[in-house]
């Protein structure tokens, strides 16, 4: 007997009923009586002293009720607050601004428009200071020191390294072939279609602060607010309602949230803050901005021997990346990828510049996008140098299935994998050999066609408490289930979906584990007053951690249910087995009890000495991370006259272990691939010498539309995780991690016969045209 909506079924999503009717509850949909609006004055300068802030005119604007400045916050010790990496950031500056679009003052008014009028009327006089936007220049001895409060001598934030430096040096020297390449991964911005915002309301009678907030981690935010504001934690309620996309951009604590809370406390009225898109792009957390130098050493017949990577990490004016505290460069040291390097060494130096802070807000699994891009690019460059087919080079080197669990030279224990299987499947789907033949023929005619492979290994599910924490909070996650007398259930989790479909997928795990219909299970997340404590949803951790908690909690219920069933059937619990989603007397299939019957008994007919009720909570501490993987193959055709890159076909074979809902997993892959295409071909955030962002709106920052996005083709292999209760690994970010290298490898492959070995992303038509022009090909 299969349950309705169990694991592996493409159940339609419960969330959709409200979304298609336009009845989602997003933060900006909230309207409370007497609600005020907050808008923010922002700095035009990237680095400047504040001479004065004159609010006289602003206070006279009709509708304006209050203006908040840095000195107001300083009095309450709130001008600075900690970042998630134990650095500190300004809520409002007292002395100087450190990046363009930085928050300088806040205006509170009776309407959104009046607040904007107020912002325009605030007069700020600045004294510009020298600007540093280039991290290399920031490290030069004569560079202005940006954070004397942290480091008086240099703009270096930290140095981090892992691996065997000397061993790797020796192995590279002993290699027959060494390929060295500089890879710059520019700053990008995730720009989910809903921007950030909140509504803060303080009830002076009960002393309770309620904040509806676009956040991916409501509990962590509540604890941080309690520590920073001094308000007792039980008097703070964070509600994360429907969120219009997160991808990491809704993890940090932005000054706007704090300002809305301050305004709510001071005015006694609810205060709403919703940022504009240009504010979102110009001030909120970015991703990437890694200057990488990678070296790969191999034997002349293509056996990989050693990998050395050195990176300069541009973090903006403060380290506000939400990495696990022991890993300032995130999980970048997964850079050995799908290959068994015996020797590897990675070092990363974080640097301060006059730009907005951040680093990992773009579906990247804590810097895994950077790592996968690096390894899959240099493996391809090596293949070219050796004159080997890139598929052959990979197949020759993959960590074989029998080597798992596999301990990498940089310290990770990969749980399971079948890299060759995924690549072979992708090659068959796309007819790889046929494509190479076609390419050969096209090349003779001078046509530019390229094929690119990316065989990536992901690392998600942060994380085991012995190694992982954010600001000291261990990275467990939780599930609490309660089954009602009539056999229906409610389950709450410590994570928070922003479109991933948890209301459906968690329900499916529970349906399978409890033998109930998914229709009979309500799933809730996001209200810190009711949900068990969790670290939230980002870095693809929900299925590996909270999904595991769901299974564990369900099995606790089954343990009690077994005793109830035994009582009802008048047998010993040892005579029962969980079969076909019910408790059956071994050998007597007719004698069984369903969870529905057991639930009723839990309230009406439980044995003496047993507590009534049927519920359980589990806080899951994962024993290890999980390692989804995949192989992507991209085919491009390049227009010689315009340099435009057209993706003709893109095949993605993903392995995320056990699949809960195939329809939802496929949707995650489609979305992730599109967010891999974006930085590869379209998106880049640049600054000029003055620290002015070049663009800063959707006019110039180009998200892929349906026209640029190809018809993605997906497939799967299934290699369960041996340590996860249901064998699932998580998949939300795999495609963003794996896709860019496949696309870039394809473009470089199309131009390799001209001597091109690498092109920095985004690969715009202009860059390609210039190369073609220089090579005399246009």
């Amino acid at each position: 007997m299969t349950v309705h909506g169990g694991i592996g079924q493409s159940v339609k999503r419960k969330e959709d009923a409200r979304f298609v009717r336009g009845q989602g509850n997003y933060v900006d949909d909230l309207k409370l009586p007497g609600m005020l609006y907050l808008d923010i004055v922002r700095s035009p300068y990237a680095h400047a002293l504040i001479r004065y802030i004159n609010i006289e005119k602003a206070m006279k604007v009709p509708g304006v009720l209050a203006v908040i400045r840095g000195k107001d916050l300083e009095a309450a010790n709130l001008a600075w607050m900690p970042t998630l990496m134990s650095d500190r950031q300004m809520v409002l500056p007292v002395e100087k601004v450190m990046y363009q679009a930085q928050e300088v003052a806040a205006v509170v008014a009776t309407s959104r428009y009046a607040a904007a009028d107020g912002v325009a009327a605030v007069e700020v006089e600045y004294e510009p200071l020298p600007v540093v936007v280039d991290p290399m220049k920031a490290l030069a001895p004569d560079a202005p020191i940006l954070r004397p409060d942290k480091n008086e001598k240099s703009n270096k934030i930290w140095h981090w390294e892992v691996g065997d430096r000397k061993g790797t040096e020796k192995a590279l020297e002993a290699s027959d072939v060494v390929v060295k390449e500089k890879l710059y991964i520019p700053r990008i911005h995730v720009s989910s279609i809903e921007t950030c915002g909140c509504v803060a309301q303080f009830d002076s009678t009960s002393g309770k602060l309620t904040i509806w907030m676009t956040t991916q981690a409501p509990h962590a935010i509540r604890t941080v607010f309690a520590l920073v504001s001094g308000l007792p934690e039980h008097k703070i309620r964070v509600i994360s309602p429907d969120i219009g996309g997160g991808f990491g951009g809704k993890v940090p604590v932005y000054p706007g949230y704090v300002l809305a809370v301050v305004a709510a406390l001071k005015t006694g009225k609810p205060v709403k803050w919703i940022e504009d898109r240009s504010e979102n792009i110009q001030a909120d957390s970015f991703a990437r901005d890694y200057h990488i130098e990678a070296e790969i050493g191999a034997t002349k017949d293509g056996k990989l021997k050693a990998l050395r990577v050195k990176t300069i990490a541009d973090h903006g004016y403060t380290d506000a990346a939400a990495n696990p505290s022991k890993f300032p460069a995130g999980l970048f040291h997964i850079v050995t990828g799908s290959y068994p390097f015996e020797q590897a060494f990675v070092e990363v130096d974080g640097v301060y510049t006059n730009k907005p802070p951040g680093g990992i807000a773009y579906r990247c699994s804590f810097r895994v996008t950077e790592a996968a891009f690096t390894i899959e690019r240099v493996v391809d460059i090596l293949a070219k140098k050796l004159g080997m087919d890139p598929a052959d080079l990979r197949m020759k080197n993959f960590i074989p299935p029998e080597a798992f669990p596999y301990k990498s030279a940089l310290g990770w224990t990969y749980d399971s994998g079948n890299y060759g299987g995924a690549l072979r499947k992708a090659m068959d789907m796309i007819d790889y050999e046929g494509l190479r033949r076609e390419q050969g023929e096209k090349r003779k005619r001078g046509e530019l066609m390229g094929i690119g492979i990316s065989s990536f290994t992901e690392i998600v599910g942060a994380g085991p408490s012995h190694t992982f924490d954010i600001l000291g909070l261990k990275m467990f996650d939780s599930c609490e289930i309660r089954i009602h007398p009539t056999g229906k259930a409610i389950a709450r989790f410590g994570t928070k979906s922003q479109g991933q479909g948890h209301e459906t997928t968690y329900g499916q795990i529970l349906a399978e584990e409890l033998g109930m219909s998914v229709e009979d299970i309500t799933v809730e997340e996001g209200d810190t007053d009711t949900a068990p404590y969790g670290l939230g949803t980002y870095a693809s951790r929900s299925t590996p951690v909270a999904g595991a908690a769901a299974a564990v909690a369900a099995r606790k219920i089954r343990a009690k249910a077994k005793l109830l069933a035994a009582h009802l059937l008048e047998v010993s619990p040892d005579d029962l087995e969980w079969k076909e989603h019910k408790f059956q007397v071994k050998g007597v299939p007719g004698k069984a009890k369903t969870m529905q019957e057991i639930a009723f008994a839990a309230y009406t007919n439980h044995p003496q000495g047993m507590e009534a009720g049927l519920e359980a909570t589990a806080y899951y501490d994962p024993p290890n991370l999980t390692f989804p993987f995949g192989s992507y193959i991209c085919v491009v055709d390049i227009d010689k006259e315009t340099g435009e890159v057209k993706i003709r076909r893109f095949v993605a074979v993903d392995d995320c272990g056990t699949i809960i809902n195939p329809m939802i997993v496929e949707g995650q892959i489609h979305g992730g691939l599109t967010m891999g295409l974006a930085p590869a071909l379209l998106e880049e955030i640049q600054y000029d010498e003055q620290g002015n962002i070049q663009g800063g709106s959707f006019m110039d920052y180009l998200l892929p539309t349906a026209v640029e996005t190809p018809h993605w083709e997906t497939a799967k292999t299934t290699t369960p995780s041996p340590h996860h209760p249901i064998g699932a690994k998580g998949v939300g970010e795999s495609a963003t991690v794996g896709a860019p290298a496949a696309i870039v490898n394809a473009v470089v492959d199309a131009l390799s016969h001209l001597g091109v070995t690498h092109i920095d992303i985004p690969i715009t038509p202009w860059k390609v045209w210039k190369i073609l022009h220089e090579k005399g090909v246009d």
Binding site: R42, S43, P44, Y45, A46, Q100, A101, A120, Y126, P128, S278, Q282, D688, Q690, G691, N692, I693, Q694, G695, G696, S697, M699, D700
Partner: protein, 145 residues
């Protein structure tokens, strides 16, 4: 960004000098609607309605003649408004030959904020256009009557 150029006009050097060092006369060469107020012989302020593309609004500005040693002058100007700011430090050097006055000018322009960020793509073109118009207008005024 540093700009520089040469402007030649058929008018005596003295007249050109007086023209370029008199903000009230200079400002008549600016097409954008503006106001100007004299604080003293070296300091001026006012407003100007300008922008880049659709990013337009009112800026307040102030200017100071920092060096007045004929035939060389230096003027510093600062303006702000619309979440943007600009600073321009310019220099002028005049010479005369055969009834023609040559003005060698430089301008160090720093733009910050919305005009420089969201208007980045259009900024260069706008600056070029305005500079050309300015000198065209100056030439018309100086060569007539």
């Amino acid at each position: 960004m540093r700009y520089e150029g040469t402007f030649t006009v058929r008018t005596p050097q003295e007249r050109a000098w007086a023209f370029f060092l008199d903000p009230k006369q200079l400002s008549t060469c600016i097409d954008d609607p503006h106001t100007i107020e004299v604080i003293d012989q070296d300091r001026f302020k006012g407003t100007v309605k300008a922008g880049v593309g659709f990013i337009r609004g009112t800026f307040t500005w102030n200017a100071t003649i920092k060096d007045r040693s004929p035939p060389h002058a230096e003027i510093a100007m600062h303006g702000s408004g619309m979440g943007s700011a600009f600073d321009i430090v310019s220099s002028l050097d005049l010479t005369e030959a055969n009834g023609l006055t040559t003005v060698r000018w430089t301008a160090d322009v720093q733009m910050s904020g919305t005009v420089a960020s969201m208007g980045a793509r259009l900024l260069q073109g706008t600056i070029d256009k305005k500079t050309n118009r300015f000198f065209e207008n100056a030439r018309k005024l100086l060569e007539s009557g």
